[in-house]
């Protein structure tokens, strides 16, 4: 069955079993392996993408339910690691093994889009669905605060940017599809 959706700002059509989770469509059908498989039960957050700007576990999201929606993956967050969350992640040197980090970053970007200045408690609450087996949590907290700072200090410029980009006008996701 052909299913159409918007993937990282571009129209995408896939012809797969409608019950196939978005995770496997991304990874196996489309070859976009930045989104990771960790548990298959929405317990670890490694597969987090944004659908309509909301952090969503792609491992339990049937592709049929994505029809017509805006999907952003780690590959689409920015073309050049320029999203404030990615910049902060690099400045703080968050990752260790790195396997969970696509999911962490997608969750953090969704949080900051909704709450530009989260407290530690709000960070913990938004990020507790994402397991990091290496234990980078302390730096994740630090990097989210840093990303909030970066995002807020350039928000004026970012707004001008997004207005100049017709594709982004309808995008809910901050710093999303390009």
């Amino acid at each position: 069955m052909a299913i159409q959706f918007t993937l990282n700002g571009k129209a995408q059509t896939v012809d797969v079993n409608p019950g196939m989770p978005l995770l496997w469509v991304l990874r196996d059908t489309l070859g976009m392996t930045g989104t990771k498989f960790g548990c298959g039960m929405a317990l670890c957050g490694a597969c987090t993408v944004q659908i309509g700007g909301l952090a969503t576990r792609s491992c339990v999201t049937p592709i049929a339910s994505v029809a017509g929606k805006q999907v952003t993956t780690i590959e689409g967050l920015s073309a050049d690691e320029s999203h404030p969350v990615q910049k902060a992640w690099m400045e703080i040197d968050v990752p260790q093994c790195g396997y969970c980090q696509s999911g962490q970053i997608m969750s953090a970007a969704a949080l900051l889009a909704k709450n530009p200045q989260p407290s530690d408690a709000e960070i913990d609450s938004a990020m507790k669905g994402n397991i990091c087996r290496c234990g980078t949590y302390q730096r994740i907290r630090q990097a989210i605060h840093r990303a909030a700072q970066m995002q807020n200090s350039v928000s004026g410029a970012a707004n001008i940017d997004s207005k100049s980009n017709a594709e982004q006008e309808s995008a809910v996701v901050v710093g999303g599809a390009k």
Partner: protein, 709 residues
């Protein structure tokens, strides 16, 4: 490390233009290897005509930061431009053998230890060749030239040649031997907090983990394994599985039945439709309670002596006060976030493998056995590892090779989380009986421990097991540093049938908890402050005493805490390094919960290569240990693992993360381990703090709500 006279450097013919250099190191790594000299190449450097410097990484990067550390070691002597560095993972080959293991592999917190000299020597030799190439070109004496930031300079005449422009001429020169290494006081890179070189690819999704490998014509597989350890396929019916659209093949392999499909999800759907009759074998009725009973029984009879100082039995009999306790720890799974996986392509006369493995040679050897090819026909590529922790050996590699061989196509095998938790090589469950005798003043004069657990080494390094003694089963107890005149530890190797393996910090993970909790019991029985007691008993262990003092000082040991807050302390020597940790906690006894607010860690691992990595590894080890203390247990019912996924095998999450403060002792001693030693002290520090809060001693992990009531 001793580099003996047979160590030599040589240039190696490379495919790309420029200087290629390798360093061959015969010999062994004192504290780890059992046998005598073997020849191993520890590093490669390639200087490209495009000014790039490629460092070939011969260790598995699983988050511990070794990729960056190896580059720092080479760059310190090479004097290249840090920004010019590229990295690639070494193929599996004998020249990359880790002298710690006499095979290619990463583990035992051995990487910096085993590369500390070889990587610097590699860099120094390459630098000398570039110096000589420039001197020859200019017709000047080499001693008047200097290497700096990716170029050779001739200050007298103000001339400069870049490494890229010298690479080809340098590659024809003889490789200098025994180039003196820099005085550490002149280090510009080693010892400076340095950002990881693999961060960008880990924030943009481009880092290629094993599970991300894609090959032309590749198909996808999952394997259904017997849920009972030691069981096997009796018969199976693939009719329904083959009817699932997209399923291409169903084949039996030695570990079970593989379903091959167009994509991973379809393979999983096909697997659900399989009908398999299992021969469950001898463990079909095994459960955790039986294992506990078996271990307990085994500690009632004398075991193999692991340590004997003085006469502990006599001293115990004559002691003014005697205390006894039994400690227990469960099986634990590694649960790296990237499930096991491997991509294999078995052709007519060679086999190519892409795997997130810590054990390249072992994987190659298994593939050679399966295919019948000689080992040099097994081309193994190591990818990034989504966590390792001792889990990633060769079992999943063998499965992928068997499937590819059977179907004649490249295949990616992926394990589900359930597969991963239920078919691991577990941290052994352990049972330990302790007794201590105190003198009239409350100081310990006798200590005895009897340990029963499975042997990890039996399965992985059988040569290291001598007369029933596996040192990894008793480490963290038999080798503790306290001065107690009568000290006795024995061991009963006991094999109930559950596969066990190396789990971050190995025997120290459970024995460190046992010993350091029991030391706290001795302090309480003798009415001593737990820190002051340890201080006195560590008078002859200056480096351990120093980290203990540092942790206590930074945590404000002995100073008042806010109401409801309590501290616990613990320390351990492991992997050549010294760690002490203080946990500050509160317990809500009505809710039966504990919160860890703050952890102070003091650490001495000798000369630090990258302080940023050390800090991250200590935080990481503490999270690992807290997960073990608060959450994890693998239990067995009817020969099967009960736990299936992260809902019943929980991992510490961000809302439980304490503030962790790491203090590293400056040192010029040789580097020692860093990946594992941060783990053991946190569990006893936490449980000792809970004792301070509640008066209840926790002797069995994980901590249960009733322990906190």
């Amino acid at each position: 490390m001793n580099v003996n006279r047979r160590g030599f450097l040589k240039t190696v013919a490379g495919a790309s233009a420029g200087l290629v250099i390798g360093f061959y190191l015969p010999g062994r790594f004192e504290t780890l290897a059992a046998a005598e000299a073997s020849t191993a190449l520890n590093a490669w450097i390639r200087v490209g005509t495009d000014e790039s410097v490629t460092i070939v990484i011969d260790k598995s990067e699983m988050g511990q930061g070794i990729l960056t550390a190896l580059c720092m070691l080479a760059a310190e002597e090479l004097e290249c431009d840090w920004k010019s560095i590229r990295t690639e993972f070494a193929p599996a080959a004998e020249i990359y053998y880790n002298p710690a293991f006499r095979s290619q592999g990463t583990g035992g917190s051995s990487s910096v230890r085993s590369s500390w000299e070889p990587m610097r020597k590699t860099g120094a030799a390459a630098r000398e060749m570039l110096l000589e190439a420039a001197a020859n070109k200019w017709g000047v004496d080499k001693s008047t030239c200097k290497a700096e930031n990716g170029a050779i300079l001739h200050p007298e005449t103000n001339r400069r040649l870049t490494y890229g422009s010298l690479a080809e001429s340098a590659s024809g020169l003889p490789v200098p031997q025994n180039v003196p290494l820099k005085d550490p006081k002149d280090f510009h890179t080693i010892g400076k907090p340095t950002k990881r070189l693999d961060t960008a690819v880990k924030v943009n999704g481009r880092a290629e983990f094993g599970i991300d490998v894609r090959r032309p014509g590749m198909v996808y597989a999952v394997v259904e394994r017997c849920p009972v350890f030691g069981g096997k396929v009796a018969s199976f019916d693939a009719t329904k599985a083959k009817k699932v659209p997209g399923v291409k093949n169903v084949v039996e392999i030695s570990n079970g039945v593989a379903v091959v499909a167009d994509n991973t999800w379809t393979a999983m759907q096909g697997r659900r439709a399989l009908e398999i009759q299992w021969d469950e074998g001898p463990n079909a009725n095994l459960n955790s309670e039986d294992i506990h009973t078996l271990f307990a029984k085994r500690t009632t009879v004398p075991g193999v002596v692991a340590r004997k100082d003085g006469d502990a039995a006599a001293a115990l009999a004559g002691a003014a006060q005697k205390i006894e306790a039994v400690y227990e720890a469960p099986y634990l799974s590694h649960a790296p976030l990237e499930p096991q996986n491997c991509t294999a392509d078995v052709r007519a006369d060679y086999c190519e493998i892409w795997a997130p493995t810590q054990m390249q040679t072992m994987s190659q050897a298994l593939a050679a056995k399966i295919t019948g090819f000689p080992i040099e026909k097994i081309k193994l590529h190591t990818t990034y590892l989504g966590g390792g922790f001792g889990r990633r050996g060769s079992d999943f590699v063998g499965e992928a090779v068997e499937i590819s061989k059977a179907i004649g196509a490249p295949v990616k095998l992926t394990w589900s989380r359930e597969d991963d938790l239920q078919h691991d090589f577990y941290r052994p469950a352990s049972y330990a009986k302790f007794a201590a005798g105190l003198d009239a003043d409350g100081w310990p004069i006798a200590w005895t421990t009897s340990i029963a657990c499975s042997s990890v080494s039996n399965g992985f390094t059988p040569g290291s097991v001598k007369n029933g003694m596996d040192r990894t089963s008793v480490e963290g107890c038999a080798d503790i540093s306290y001065s107690i005149p009568n000290f006795f530890v024995d061991y009963q190797m006991t094999e109930p049938g559950i596969p066990v393996g190396f789990w971050r910090s190995v025997g120290n993970s459970q024995n460190g908890f046992f010993s350091e909790s029991f030391m706290d019991e001795i302090a309480a029985a003798g009415k001593k402050d737990p820190y002051e007691l340890r201080r006195r008993l560590l008078a002859n262990s200056p480096r351990l005493l120093a980290v203990l003092d540092l942790a206590a000082e930074k945590a404000g040991w002995g100073t008042p805490l806010p109401p409801g807050r309590f501290r616990g302390i613990a320390t351990l020597y492991a992997f050549g390094s010294y760690a002490a940790e203080v946990a500050e906690i509160s317990v809500d006894r009505s809710a039966r919960t504990v919160k860890v607010h703050h952890v102070v860690c003091a650490f001495d691992c000798g000369h630090v290569v990258n302080p940023a990595t050390i800090e991250a590894q200590m935080q990481s080890g503490i999270v690992w240990g807290l997960t073990m203390a608060l959450h994890s247990a693998i239990t067995i019912d009817r020969g099967r693992v009960v736990q299936t996924n992260f809902h019943n095998y929980p991992i510490l999450r961000i809302d439980e993360m304490p503030v962790v403060e790491v203090h590293v002792v400056p040192s010029q001693e040789k580097p020692t381990g860093a990946g594992e030693p941060g783990v053991p002290p946190i569990t006893p520090a936490l449980c000792n703090a809970i004792f301070a809060a509640t008066g209840k001693r926790i002797r069995r992990l994980p901590i249960r709500p009733e322990d906190l009531a």
